[in-house]
Symmetry: C2
Amino acid sequence: MDTRERILHTGLELFTERGYEGTTLAAIAGQIGIKKPSLYAHFTNKEALFLAAVKKAVLEYNQIVSSELKASETESTESQLKTLLYRLAEVYYDEYTISQFYYRFLFFPPPELAPRMQELVVYHGSIADQHIEAVVQQGKDEGEIEPSLANDLITEAYLTLLSGIDFDIRYYDFNKKQIRTHVDRIWQVFWRGIRAS
Amino acid sequence: MDTRERILHTGLELFTERGYEGTTLAAIAGQIGIKKPSLYAHFTNKEALFLAAVKKAVLEYNQIVSSELKASETESTESQLKTLLYRLAEVYYDEYTISQFYYRFLFFPPPELAPRMQELVVYHGSIADQHIEAVVQQGKDEGEIEPSLANDLITEAYLTLLSGIDFDIRYYDFNKKQIRTHVDRIWQVFWRGIRAS
DNA sequence: GTCTATACGGCGATAGAC
DNA sequence: GTCTATCGCCGTATAGAC
C-alpha cells in the first residue's frame, strides 16, 4: 500500500471515530509514521484529504453491497431474501470502518462540505431495488409470494426492514450472533406478510 | 427563559449541526447576544455545557416519546399501532433539534465523553416495549392479531419497523407527506404479517 | 453576571533544506 | 517525498474591573 493509500486508510479510521473537526492532521500523520507537513505532498489540504476519503468509502461501500447482492444463490425465494438480510447486516461487522464512516457522514456531514459531498454519493438504493424486485418476481413465479402485493411495495417494505436492522445494530449494540437471532425473529413476521396465502 | 436555558437551547442547535468539536463557545455566546467568557458564569467548561445539553435532550426526548405513547386512543388495534408509527415518525419533524441531537450523539459521541454520556442515557426502549406489548395483547383479545405469534416477537418486529422508518427519514430525506405514504405502504405488509388469519 | 484583556496551546498551512 | 522550523489564527479558559 503506498503512502497515499495509507493516509486514506488511517483517515477513514480517525474521521469515523472522532469526526471531521475532531481529527487532526498530526494524528493521521503520526499513526502512519510520518510528520504532518508530509501530508501536503499527497493532498492539497485537509478538506481534499477528507473528500478523497469520502469518495473511497462510497465506492467501496457500494461495491461491497453489490457483491453481496450478486452472491445470492439459487435457493428458495424465502431463504434467498433472508440470507441477504444476514449478509447485508453483517457488512457492519466485516467492514466496520467503511460502513460507520459511510453512515456517519451521510447523516451528519460537516456543513461546509455537504454540497461537495453530495456529488460523490451515488445512491446504491437503486441497485438493491432492482435486485430485490427481481427476486420478489421470481418468488411470485414460483408461487411462494402473494401475487396481489405489488413488487415495489414488497421491496419498499423489505428495504425498510433492512434499514431497521442497520439501525438496531447501532442502537442496541448487537453482536453478530444477536443480530442473527434478531433477524430470524422479525423475519417470521415479515415472511408471513408477503408469502402466498 | 433564563440565560442558562438559552445557552442550552442554542447549544443543542449548534452541537446538532456542527458536532462537538465543530461548535465553538464563541458561536453559542454570539447567537444569544453575550460574550464568550460569560458562559463560564453558567457552566464550568465546554464539556459540562455539552453534558448538560445531553441530559436535557435525553429527558425531553424520552418525555416526548412517552407522551406520544400515552396519547394513543381507543381505536382498533390496527389503527392504534399504525397511528403510533405516524406519531413517532413525526417527532423527527416536530422536534427536529432534539431528535437529531439525540441520535447524532447516541451513535457518534465524542470518544472522550462517551463514558460520562452513557450514565445520562436511559433507554426509553423498555417504556415503548411495554406499551406496545399491551396493545398487541389487546389486539389478540379482540381477535385482530394472530394468537400463535408471541407478543414479544411482534413487538420486536414492530420496533424494528419503527427503527427502519426513523432511518429512512434521514437517509432519503423524506418530508412529512412522503413519510405518511411510506408508512401506509409498508404497513400493508406488516399488518398482513401479524393479523389473525 | 457580564464585560475587556489576555494567556496558552494546538490547529492548518507554508518555506525551504535535504 | 520527507523533514525541521515557523507562521498566523483561533480555540478554550482565566484574571480582574464594573
